[in-house]
Subunit: 239 residues, 2 copies
DNA sequence: GGAATAGTGTCTGTAAGACACTATTTC
DNA sequence: GAAATAGTGTCTTACAGACACTATTCC
């Protein structure tokens, strides 16, 4: 019979075989009329020189959680932490990494292209890749599957929340929001329905300014400080 | 410059410090008018003799995924694999396990009490605990937080799907379904609304039999083979 | 027949879809 | 004023809530 203190004193984590653990992120943005995902060219084996999701190992000394790991890795690649970052799921198995049994906890994130672009310009190993060019490209590990799962989640959430605002800069117009939503859903939405939900969400406030994106000047909005995502009890129609 | 083959030949996973990785499950059932969760009394340090979620280490030789680990561990505790088992999320950090930085991938599952009970009867280290008695009880690790997250997910899904059927035996009546839904939501639901959704889901078929649970005999239903969960585009009203 | 549970009919309420309408701005 | 985009009014539609009604079964 040992006490917990004695047990912990003698505990050696290397005695237990452990899977290889990583954290990866699917960072989306909308740019040039297309939904894009951030990819990084791998600088190490395995899958050296192939494109894959930005991610890496947990820093056990400094990371307070896998979310912290995801934030750190994204900051390394883009210079910023995206305004929306949430856990997607974990993917695991003996085959997905040639080094052996592995587990990756995946986060999915959104950012405005403009808020990220200055940092990744001229960096040849990080790129925004439109989702429709991913069909042909061969991604490292099971990252193709992961991106598809993230896309599905993004579309689901877009149907019952205002999540896509995180693809926009701090100040934005309703038309810009409508555009990113339609790009994400690959589907037009009723402007009137969008406006009703936009108001009902109580997540946004007018800046007071108006900008001319098209003909008539549009109101500028920003997210209210400290309010969290409103989930609607009905979905927008998809198909 | 090494090839990937050379790299893999020389790769030693022990060179990378790794978090402690476990898999845990939140298995729900409804029994005695209450939502219950399966707990196991810990046979090892840390938290020896305290109650916690059933789970454990991945068997790198035999488990094809963390889902397989969850299934194996639940089969060890209950003798069966529950009819519904899906990933909830992963929880991680340096503080949640006294042995050090740890990560647990958590699954949440549903089963009919009758389909499980024969196996855990007379086993003193596994028990169904009503959720309302969990407030007082001190669970191992961060398992209290995890159960709360699982409960939230269960309620969400109950609002837009027929998920609670997995708390019922293979053949069940509408009244039984209504009962488990109301227990999960802590809230009555309109029988008529439930019936409309039940029909619309196209997930079920009549067995042809009728049983007397109350006065008038009720139709028996079973899940159609091979159909998957239908998600409704509206939520049931909660509050 | 009365009590209890199973199941139906149907009206109301809410929020999305559809789409015509008005408003503002640039040319 | 024409064209284009921003924003409104309002009718329709889908489906959940409410609740009274009928049906079946046991005593």
């Amino acid at each position: 019979m040992t006490t917990q203190a004695e047990y912990l004193k003698n505990y050696d984590p290397r005695l237990f075989p452990s899977p290889l653990v990583t954290v990866d992120s699917v960072l989306f943005t909308v740019h040039g009329g297309k939904l894009c995902v951030l990819l990084a060219k791998r600088a190490n084996h395995p899958f050296l020189d192939q494109w894959g999701l930005p991610g890496g190992f947990i820093d056990l000394q400094h990371d307070a959680s896998t979310q912290a790991t995801a934030e750190r890795k994204l900051r390394e690649k883009t210079g910023v932490v995206p305004p929306y970052l949430a856990q997607l799921a974990s993917f695991s198995g003996p085959e997905r990494d040639p080094r052996g049994w592995s587990l990756t906890t995946v986060y999915f994130a959104l950012i405005a292209h403009a808020d990220c672009q200055p940092h990744i310009i001229d960096v040849s190993d990080v790129a925004w890749v439109p989702l429709d060019s991913l069909q042909t490209q061969q991604l490292a590990f099971d990252h193709q599957t992961i991106v598809e799962a993230a896309l599905q989640r993004l579309r689901q959430k877009t149907a019952y929340s205002m999540l896509p605002v995180y693809c926009l800069p701090a100040e934005f117009t309703l038309s810009q929001l409508q555009e990113v939503i339609e790009i994400i859903l690959s589907h037009t939405v009723q402007r009137k329905s969008l406006m009703r939900r936009f108001d009902a969400s109580e997540m946004f406030e007018e800046t007071g300014e108006r900008v001319a994106t098209g003909a008539r000047k549009a109101r500028l909005y920003r997210r209210k400080a400290g309010v969290d995502m409103r989930n609607f009890s009905r979905n927008l129609m998809v198909e």
